[in-house]
């Protein structure tokens, strides 16, 4: 979002004969909204600035106290001036605004009852606010035909009021190209040149940015309910590690359909997502409603089946939750008495509390992260780098203000999209700074954009073309090894007093460009370095860290920043999953799946063993042959899972786990911020949080094992504490006590009994409808709302309704403001952090100086001749690389099939053709991929799609030529 000037000076202004103190440097509209004045507007948006297009926010400006007439000004284009006198209520201003809205409404199709925006429509709110109630226009309405914009967004062009917000967001803010303002005069049309999927990954924000119903959420429309019928709670997006705050909306179905989650909208968090979410986060929610969802406990049939086609998969049948708990309890009782070993496999997409409960159940030595060796090593490395006192993880506003950005290897547009959007804003920071020198305020969007040709230096080093290429001042496409060399040379150039620095040998990077890069880096006062685990290269992460340390040293030496916080270098390291960094706190690098596999292979004791897998798909982490061996080596597999996957197909017992919007827990994002997500709805079927299944089973096993207390004391104590936990906050406190890094968890949010003035926070808004009818088909008497054992929130309308009074409130609503624009009513001023403060605490990691660790390097190239082998470069897609979002129907419909990208010459060398199926074999496993050709990928490299449905990544970094062959047609 834009800075409304740096000056925190105050100005005294008079509005309608009352004096107010407001921040100087902002525009009058923003000031009026900060004062909670009801002033209608359309084209202005706190993140997009002012253009004065809609003329809706007119107010009267008086010359002095004697001036009785005044002049009409657009408040969004008027800087507040100390001592100025304005009037919102002056009849001239009111008449003008009423006239404007009357004009805007002349072509409106009057279809509010069948419009998805109805009830949360900014146009409805503004029409009412301006007092336009009677249509006087007698002429015909201009109409437009709609376009097909893909499976996410519905288009209804006649509802448009031509505020231009959509193209300003889509093109200017998010860098999209395929949505345009077409046509002319009163026939302006916002759409594409032809029907087709909107190809920008932030297109979903059009739903919230558009003040009318031109762009609406198509997935939501399929199970649509009005905004006032949605129950909401603050949640955290589970589809990547950025940790965007979301407000999922859910409603029970009146026909008993278990699918309750209806949509996901943005929940403003100043430091992370601001006003915008990516499309994976917005539309990925459908996994919770997918056909693969597990609603009841299931047990594998024990009778031998004749001639099944299931292969190693098992045939499951439902069983009652009590039986399922009893079965798990038997396993635990055997573990208690020492007759069985239980190995717990934790999850990087599940909460800290769930992982901790599993760890408590099986003991630390039997707890393994559900990650392969390489992934866990990368996470531990990220953790170690972030502990270094010379670096810090920047928040989104800091990235947006950066005066130089270096992206090293990470395809953030696909692995951490919201950060890519922030980097895109950083590309304009030089322009905004220049505007500041010219005394143009940053919110004067159009004027600032007139300063063309001024760009923030942005180095994008990537394996393949990325969505940031269009804003990069320097593009480098290289293998990770070359990026390491580049980062090291840059670091060297920063630290070296003098001497020749030679550009590294990278195709496409000439000496001139490199010298410019060094110079820009030396000049930059707030550079941000972005890298991550995407390329699966430890050396790259270390090189990024070394570069960051050099930047920190340079900052300290040259810019003499007195504030130690300022002197730290901003280093953003993207992690793969929502709780990757949290899981990394709970285990050491040794506790990975490969290690477990090796231990199992080398062990020949006949002790019965259970694999207790929690929300992890082994077949996604390990090549199928290794996962098969791991599964075959144990005599029982018990899985807690949200959706069916290849691991659950082999499980003997499956327990339905709650999806992120169905339980309360804590996730740690890439920046090391622990954030709590709350249960939005009660869940369907027998779903409950994984830790509750484990606690129930632990309690039940206590009864089973009550008589024979063999086993060791420590196990008993552990299981007893697990069985005693009733509220998730008790687990958080226990976590805080067990791990010093996680100490802030104890302070993260209110306990279940910490009500505000005796009241809980209501999840349902005060207009929630159908309370006495929705379940009346089966039972005419109303059910009592289910209690929430974890948070002081009610699954009903009772309790506190308004966002400013409780940090637990996610429903944006204020009197007169039904749309999501109501958020300004809960901010001290538009764009500032919410009054009800977002939850989230940084981890209390002890500062340890990081030393590069050459031993922990990547696998070396096996052969000296590069033409023999190929470097595997993992490539990511916003739609396709997310484990859970791949289950979402709309996302699955636009996901490509798994692919391998070759340089044209390499493809020729291998005598393959683009569009052909190829197979890559590695130690007995086979990956079937679609061959693609790209001249932007470096030679002797293969870009392989990573994270696609139920597909593990290729374990090695290099493959031989012989391993690639044509695949099955």
């Amino acid at each position: 979002m834009l800075k409304a000037g740096n000056a925190q000076a105050m100005a005294t202004i008079t509005i309608d004969n009352r004096q107010y103190e407001v921040d100087d440097g902002q525009n009058l509209l923003s000031a009026c909204l900060s004062l909670k004045k009801n002033l209608p507007y359309f084209c202005w948006h706190p993140a997009l600035g002012s253009v004065g297009a809609c003329r809706q926010c007119a107010v009267v400006l008086f010359k002095d106290a004697d001036d009785q007439r005044g002049t009409l000004v657009m408040s969004c284009m008027t800087p507040v001036k100390d001592g100025a006198i304005y009037s919102i209520d002056a009849p001239t201003a009111q008449d003008f605004r009423a006239g404007i809205i009357e004009n805007l409404m002349t072509n409106h199709p009057h279809d509010c009852p069948v419009c998805e925006e109805g009830g949360e429509c900014h146009l409805q709110d503004m029409t009412l606010m301006s007092g336009h109630t009677q249509r006087r226009f007698q002429g015909r309405k201009r109409t437009h035909n709609n376009q097909y914009l893909g499976p996410f967004i519905n288009h209804e062009m006649n509802r448009c009021i031509t505020c231009y917000r959509c193209v300003r967001f889509y093109r200017d803010h998010a860098g999209g190209t395929d949505l345009q303002a077409l046509g002319r005069n009163h026939q302006v049309y916002f759409g594409r040149q032809e029907d087709g999927l909107l190809d920008n990954g932030f297109s979903g924000n059009l739903v919230e940015v558009c003040p009318t119903g031109v762009f609406t959420d198509k997935t939501y429309s399929r199970h649509y309910v009005r905004k006032w019928d949605l129950q909401t709670a603050p949640s955290v997006c589970e589809h990547c590690a950025v940790g965007c705050n979301t407000a999922p909306g859910a409603r029970r179905d009146g026909k008993g359909d278990p699918r309750q989650l209806r949509r996901v909208t943005n929940l403003f968090h100043r430091q992370i997502n601001g006003y915008f979410l990516c499309d994976r986060g917005r539309f990925g929610y459908e996994y919770a409603n997918s056909a693969a969802r597990i609603y009841t406990p299931q047990a594998a049939l024990t009778q031998p089946l004749i001639q099944t086609t299931a292969g190693s998969a098992k045939v499951h049948q439902s069983l009652s939750p009590a039986d399922a708990v009893a079965r798990l309890a038997v396993t635990i009782a055997q573990m208690r008495s020492g007759n069985r070993r239980v190995i717990g496999i934790g999850s990087s997409r599940s909460s800290l509390e769930n992982n901790f409960a599993l760890q408590t159940l099986v003991g630390r030595e039997h707890f393994y992260a559900g990650l392969d060796e390489r992934s866990l090593a990368l996470l531990k490395l990220v953790d170690r780098i972030q502990r270094d006192p010379r670096v810090h993880s920047p928040g989104t506003p800091e990235i947006e203000r950066a005066d130089m950005v270096i992206v090293l290897g990470e395809d953030i547009a696909d692995t951490a999209p919201r950060i890519a959007l922030a980097v895109r804003q950083a590309a304009r920071s030089a322009q905004i700074a220049r505007a500041g020198e010219l005394k143009i305020p940053a919110w004067q969007d159009d004027s600032v954009r007139q300063l063309t040709g001024i760009r923030t230096p942005l180095l994008v080093a990537s394996a393949e073309r990325t969505d940031l290429d269009d804003i990069a001042s320097c593009r480098v496409r290289a293998a990770p090894e070359q990026m390491v060399a580049l980062a090291d040379v840059l670091a060297q150039a920063l630290t070296a007093e003098s001497g020749e620095i030679h550009a590294p040998d990278i195709a496409g990077l000439d000496t001139g460009e490199f010298t410019a890069l060094v110079e820009q880096l030396k000049q930059a006062r707030h550079p941000v370095i972005v890298s991550g685990c995407g390329l699966q290269s430890q050396e790259l992460l270390q090189a990024a860290a070394r570069l960051a340390f050099a930047v920190a040293g340079h900052k300290e030496a040259n810019h003499r920043q007195t504030d130690s916080r300022e002197a730290r270098a901003a280093l953003y390291l993207a992690c793969p999953e929502a709780n990757s960094l949290g899981l990394a706190q709970l285990c050491d690098a040794r506790q990975n799946l490969n290690q477990l596999h090796r231990e199992r292979q080398s062990e020949h004791t006949p002790q019965p063993t259970t694999l207790l897998v929690m929300e992890a798909d082994l077949y996604r982490q390990l090549p199928a042959s290794v996962a098969d061996q791991l599964c075959a080596g144990v005599d029982e597999i018990i899985q807690l899972e949200i959706v069916h996957n290849r691991t659950s197909a082999r499980a003997d017992l499956i327990l339905p786990a709650a999806a992120t919007p169905e339980y309360e827990g804590t996730l740690v994002n890439s920046g090391g911020l622990a954030q709590r997500h709350y249960a939005v709805y009660e869940g369907s079927g027998w779903i409950q949080a994984s830790w509750r299944w484990l606690a129930d089973a632990a309690a039940a096993s206590g009864e089973l094992a009550g008589a024979e207390l063999s086993g060791d004391e420590e196990t008993h104590a552990r299981l007893q504490s697990l069985a005693r936990w009733r509220h998730v906050t008790q687990l958080s406190v226990a976590l805080a006590e067990s791990y010093p890094e996680l100490a802030p968890l104890a302070e993260l949010g209110p306990d279940w009994d910490q009500t505000i003035e005796g009241q809980k926070t209501a999840r349902q808004p005060h207009r929630y409808s159908g309370r006495t009818a929705i379940q009346a088909e089966r039972q005419v008497a109303e059910y009592k709302p289910l209690p929430d054992d974890d948070a002081p929130m009610a699954f009903s309308m009772e309790g506190i309704q308004f966002a400013c009074q409780s940090p637990l409130q996610a429903n944006n609503w204020a009197p007169g403001w039904n749309s999501n624009q109501a958020i300004h009513c809960y901010q001290p001023k538009p764009g500032a952090a919410r009054l009800g403060h977002s939850s989230g605490q940084p981890l209390a990691r002890k500062a340890v100086v990081f030393h590069s660790d050459s031993a922990a390097g990547d696998a070396a190239r096996p052969t000296a001749d590069p033409s023999d082998g190929f470097r595997i470069l993992p490539l990511y897609r916003m739609f396709g690389s997310g484990e859970l979002s791949n289950y979402a129907g709309a996302i699955a419909s636009v996901t490509e099939e798994p692919f391998a990208v070759f340089h044209p010459q390499d493809l020729e060398l291998l005598s393959l053709t683009a569009g052909q199926q190829i197979a890559i074999t590695e130690s007995g496993d086979r990956w079937q991929l679609l061959a693609k050709v790209s001249d932007t990928i470096p030679r002797h490299c293969i870009g392989v799609s990573t994270g696609f449905t139920q597909m593990a990544s290729i374990p090695g970094a290099y493959i031989e030529r012989e391993q690639i062959a044509p695949g099955d047609a």
Binding site: H108, P109, H110, D111, C112, P113, V114, C115, G118, G119, R140, K141, R142, T143, H144, N145, N146, E156, N158, R159, L182, G183, R184, N185, Q187, Y189, G191, S221, R222, H223, Y224, V225, R226, W228, D229, D253, G254, K255, R767, Y768, S769, G770, R771, T772, A773, I774, A776, E777, Q779, V780, A781
Partner: protein, 171 residues
């Protein structure tokens, strides 16, 4: 003493006044067409369901006894997938009828809704939908609203001009 006599006298005098009550159900009282009784869902003049599942009746309902789910048919019309009124909660206030933008939900002069089992007071769409337009004979929402439905393309609603060809010069 006097007050007792006065009361006796007043009661005695009432023996000769005209009866207000009628012998219901042998004699049915007159109820005006706009009487607020049992709720129905009506059809538009073409015989299509009027309800577009906008949820306004449900949100207006003081005892929250209306519940429905929107669905979109192949013809582009919004319809309720189910529409349920729990008459055991209904207070016959008529706010749903006031809120309805399509004249779909209407109250009728029928109040005879007695059941031994409360569950039978739950009416579904099949129970509520009648085969006529009710009190408002002419109105059809989709003839006015700009949304495209089968049989009515863009520009064919009341007061609409033909769609603009954006790719032409449109001078």
């Amino acid at each position: 003493m006097i007050s007792i006599l006065r009361s006796l006298w007043l009661v005695f005098r009432h023996l000769f006044t005209r009866r207000v009550t009628v012998e219901y159900p042998e004699e049915m009282p007159y109820l005006a067409p706009r009487y607020r009784g049992r709720i129905v869902l009506t059809r538009d003049p073409d015989g299509d369901e009027r309800c577009v599942a906008c949820n306004l009746c449900a949100v207006a309902c003081p005892p929250d006894c209306i519940s429905l789910q929107k669905m979109e048919d192949a013809d582009g019309r919004w319809r309720p997938e189910f529409f349920r009124i729990n008459f055991s909660r209904c207070i016959m206030c008529g706010l749903c009828e006031d809120a309805c933008p399509t004249y779909a939900i209407q109250l009728t002069p029928d109040f005879e809704m007695c059941e031994y089992d409360r569950q039978n007071m739950v009416y579904e769409k099949e129970d509520l939908l009648i085969n006529g337009p009710g009190k408002y004979h002419e109105y059809s929402f989709y003839r006015h609203a700009g949304k495209t439905v089968s049989g009515k393309a863009k520009g064919e609603a009341a007061g609409e001009a033909k769609p603009v060809n954006v790719k032409s010069l449109n001078l």
